[in-house]
Amino acid sequence: MTKSHIKVTINGRSVEALVEPRTLLIHFLREQQNLTGAHIGCDTGHCGACTVDMDDMSVKSCMTFAVQADGASIITIEGMANADGTLSALQEGFRMMHGLQCGYCTPGMILRAHRLLQENANPTEDEIRHGISGNLCRCTGYVNIVKAIQYAAAKINGTPYLEAAE
């Protein structure tokens, strides 16, 4: 199959690649770029395990062709840590509040939460619940995911927050 040339910025790194027109962004990231953090959970865009950030929007990368990302800037879970390698507020929040169990939905959930906090720096619980409703988690029951996002929001905003899961 004829391949298309694409240029993408991934986690601040410029990448050029040849991809088949039908190659999904998730497979491009996972298989060609070896960024296996984003996962495939449903193939139909419902579960959000494949969520990445593309040009300041949350995108389900199993619903996006790699060619659609041509010229775009993408952030994946591998690009979420602080510059010094420490966990970012969201990553830390998920750990401190026990916001994950099997870890499979976590990269997508964190990327979605990242964009949510860009859109709304101080969301209410209800806004968080609606804001992550495109991302399914089978393990946690969401209570602690909500707390993890609240933890991160507070830490980023410099407001008081609960230190850890009660």
Partner: protein
């Protein structure tokens, strides 16, 4: 500050540093998972790796007239196409199931359920493999199918399993019909029937625990790599029980077990779906053996929901007999169990209906009888325990719905009826009418605590007022109060009654202390999100006085881990957790001898103090475990072998019996059928609590899955056997928006036979949650004489209840 206070502070500081049992230790797993550095099967890439994909049947029941693979093979990038004809000479077109049946790997003459595996295409990438499945030409001749299990044994029913049609004695005794799998009975039938014949009050209800699916977010997958030169197979896969998989692969492939390396890497949730062996695993192995290169198989979501291991599908005719004062005298249950096309239940061998005989629940019921008939239908095979011990959700659903039905008939409050019939604390260990010995319990305390916490009496008063208001036409909302008081049976199990493929259901731990005092420990279990790397280390930290952060837990590699039966049925803490404590105690006993030698005293003069052995009466004379570890390698006592390690294979003397009291308050809009959970309170007693943070997380997750099952999740078929909605479009997985907020609480009744008193908790919230939600819905409509309302309780079905009762204008 006096001396004693100083000592106490010092001990508390040393204890805290260990991060042992009882503390909310943060999970070690999360460091990698939050950075996208987990290592799941599909993350593994090997040089030259090929991809497999299945051609699947569009029919529920059809004869295969012909299979033509030539067009597929001609597609560039396709390497091979396997059919039953290729597997048959190897004896691999069928594989044994854990339930004593056989299951087709690739269909030979007939297909027996929609999406059954017919051919396996192997290609250079997954897109080409998928393309090629479209190019395999299969000609089918459709046959009449059986979807309703109640029609399986009709005289004119088509015979489904022609491969075993003459084998009228199955793995579990005589078969009454070619579509019958087994009949399993327990209890005193005559005595039970006699009580029913003479009882003041009896109830009888058909309670359906409908077909659903565990549906972990990561589907089932495997990667096989056969080294032709060494004759060795390495198999990575989504295996909740990697050691059992190694044995199964050895048995069916003929490869010696020591030449098979099974590795379960990180697993993205299991919930029972990843216990069994599937056609995809076998085909990736065969593909790799035949081609000599690695072959990966990754299930898509539709395949997952429609083929690998459904759960439930139990049709339970449930009866209770009682006095008019509400003392339950007997229970009688008949189950029609729909196992689909092959009996691929993942139960211990001797338990074709799992532990369904825990159905007498938390109550002192003098006599009972249970009969279960398993039948074949044209549906996917399985019958796995979805976030529960074997058939325990079904059993608890039966008793906890039935007791509500009885309460209504007696005109009694159902909480009072439960309390009146509870097994009393002094009755433990309690021998149930259906054969179990409950190890411990304190039901009255738990129930009272729960009722106080939820404000039970006030809720009933509020409900009474709302019902009056509804009758007066002032509200269109119905209020339901759901209760469930469950007793689980987990931690399988004792060798006398629990085995899988003849292997006793022990589990294991091997602990090795290094010279510098850090530890690696390996278990026969396999975490799928439960946080084993965190919690097993906490057990060892407390037992051996080494900080949990200095302990690495490793599971899932059958080359390095001791043999174990795996993680399901809440057995990790009850069995491998016990093995961990026992192995640690073996090490501690040796450490005490070494310490005595170092301190030049008699062993009996030493006492354990958090992280050290000290001389009794001389607390300043001590050796820490770290110092002892060095000595074990550097200067062990004369005649003692060096090193400091131990292994334990723990065979539990009994199961454990966690219990809990759950309450749900629900408001239902009678005109839309939309049900809103106002409160859900869960009190769990799982015995000793290792990590309260993780326990709470497990409870949250289990309740969410219970909510899903009760309120909408279902695998449904039409009359042609088409699976209706095998995607997340139709299959209900709750999002953060509809998931209720959970309130958790606990009591602690340690297991008397477990080394640390722990009972297991991961599945309790699911087991207790399902009937609690269903009871809330049923309670909402109870005053309108709705009768029993079957699950799942989605808005459409509840709207239909309102319609049936004439409640809509």
């Amino acid at each position: 500050m006096n001396e004693q206070v100083k000592v106490d502070i010092d001990r508390a500081e040393r204890t805290e540093k260990l991060q042992g049992m009882g503390c909310k230790r943060k999970r070690v797993e999360d460091i990698r998972f939050t950075q996208g550095k987990g290592n799941y099967v599909d993350d593994i890439k090997l040089p030259g790796m090929l991809f497999g994909d299945f051609v699947r049947s569009p029919h529920a029941h059809a004869r295969i007239v012909s299979i033509d693979t030539s067009r597929a093979k001609a597609l560039p990038g396709v390497v091979a196409v396997l059919t039953a004809a290729d597997l048959k000479p190897l004896g691999l077109h069928y594989m044994p199931t854990l339930a004593g049946d056989v299951q087709a790997v690739l269909a030979e003459h007939k297909v027996l359920f929609q999406n059954q595996e017919v051919a396996f295409v192997i290609a250079e990438d997954r897109y080409i493999a998928s393309d090629a499945t479209e190019l395999v030409d299969v000609v089918y001749e459709a046959l009449p199918c059986i979807i309703d299990p109640f029609k399986s044994m009709d005289g004119d029913a088509p015979i489904l399993r022609e491969d075993i049609k003459d084998k009228m004695v199955g793995a579990h005794g005589p078969r009454k019909h070619p579509n019958h799998i087994f009949e399993w009975t327990i209890g005193d039938k005559q005595a039970t029937d006699d009580v029913f014949a003479n009882a003041d009050v009896t109830i009888k209800e058909m309670l359906v625990d409908h077909r659903t699916h565990p549906s972990p977010l990561e589907t089932c997958q495997s990667l096989a790599s056969f080294d032709k030169v060494k004759g060795e197979l390495t198999l990575w896969g989504t295996f909740q029980a990697p050691h059992v998989i190694r044995t199964v692969v050895s048995l069916i492939s003929g490869l010696p077990e020591h030449k098979i390396h099974v590795i379960a890497p990180d697993i993205g949730g299991g919930f029972g779906n990843k216990v069994g062996a599937y056609a995809g695993y076998v085909c990736s192995v065969v593909g790799s053996i035949v081609l000599g290169v690695p072959v990966k198989w990754v299930e898509d979501r539709m395949e997952n929901l429609s083929t690998t291991s459904f759960a439930r599908d139990y049709h339970m005719t449930t009866e209770l007999a009682a006095t008019k004062e509400g003392k339950i005298l007997a229970m009688r249950v008949h189950v029609l169990a729909d196992h689909g096309a092959f009996d691929a239940c993942a139960d211990p061998s001797k338990w074709p209906a799992g532990f369904m005989n825990i159905c007498t629940g938390s109550y002192d019921i003098p006599v009972a009888h249970l009969a279960v008939d398993g039948v074949y239908t044209n549906k996917a095979s399985g019958g796995v325990a979805y976030r529960c011990s074997f058939r325990v959700t079904e059993a608890v659903f039966a008793i906890e719905r039935a007791i509500e039905v009885l309460a209504q008939k007696l005109g009694m409050d159902s909480a009072d009826l439960r309390i009146k019939n509870f097994i009393k604390p002094e009755q433990f260990p309690y021998h149930s009418a259906l054969g179990w010995e409950y190890d411990s319990g304190d039901y009255h305390t738990a129930m009272q605590k729960a009722m106080d916490a939820i404000g039970y009496k006030q809720l009933r008063d509020e409900q009474a007022q709302k019902r009056e208001a509804f009758k007066r036409g002032e509200t269109r909302e119905l209020m339901g109060i759901g209760i469930s008081f469950f007793t689980e049976i987990v931690g399988a199990g004792p060798a006398k009654n629990c085995d899988i493929l003849g292997i006793a259901m022990f589990d294991s731990a091997e602990i090795r202390i290094h010279p510098t005092g850090s530890i690696i420990a390996r278990m026969g279990t396999k975490s799928q999100g439960q946080g084993h790397e965190t919690t097993y280390a906490q057990i060892i930290a407390t037992e051996l006085g080494i900080p949990a952060d200095d302990i690495m837990i490793e599971e899932g590699n059958t080359d390095t881990a001791p043999y174990g039966l795996g993680t399901y049925g809440s057995r990790s803490t009850p069995v491998a957790g016990a093995a961990t404590a026992v192995a640690a105690r073996k090490i501690k006993a040796k450490a005490q001898m070494i310490a005595a030698h170092m301190l030049e005293v008699h062993e009996g003069d030493l006492e354990w103090d958090v992280d050290r052995f000290r001389v009794k009466g001389l607390p300043e004379k001590f050796k820490t475990m770290k110092e002892i570890a060095w000595s074990a390698y550097n200067a062990p006592p004369p005649n003692m072998e060096p090193g400091l390690e131990a292994v334990n294979y723990y065979e539990p003397p009994n199961m454990t019996y966690p219990f809990g009291a759950y309450f749900c308050v629900m408001d239902i809009d009678v005109d839309t059928g939309v049900a809103k959970t106002r409160r859900f309170y869960a009190l769990d007693d799982c015995g000793t609590r290792i990590n309260p943070m993780i326990i709470e997380g497990q409870v949250h997750g289990g309740l969410t899955e219970a909510f899903a099952c009760a309120m909408g999740q279902e695998i449904r078929y039409d009359e042609m056997g088409n699976v209706m909605g095998a995607s997340f479009m139709d299959f209900f997985l709750p999002t953060a928006v509809e998931t209720p907020k959970w309130e958790t609480d606990f009591t602690v009744t340690p297991s008397p036979h477990h080394p640390i008193g722990a009972k297991g908790v991961g599945e309790s919230p699911h087991v207790g949650g399902v009937p609690c939600f269903s009871n809330a819905v049923n309670d909402a409509y109870a005053f309108l004489n709705a009768g029993h309302i079957q699950m799942p309780h989605d808005a459409w079905r509840l709207w239909k209840v309102g319609e049936r009762l004439g409640l809509h204008a």
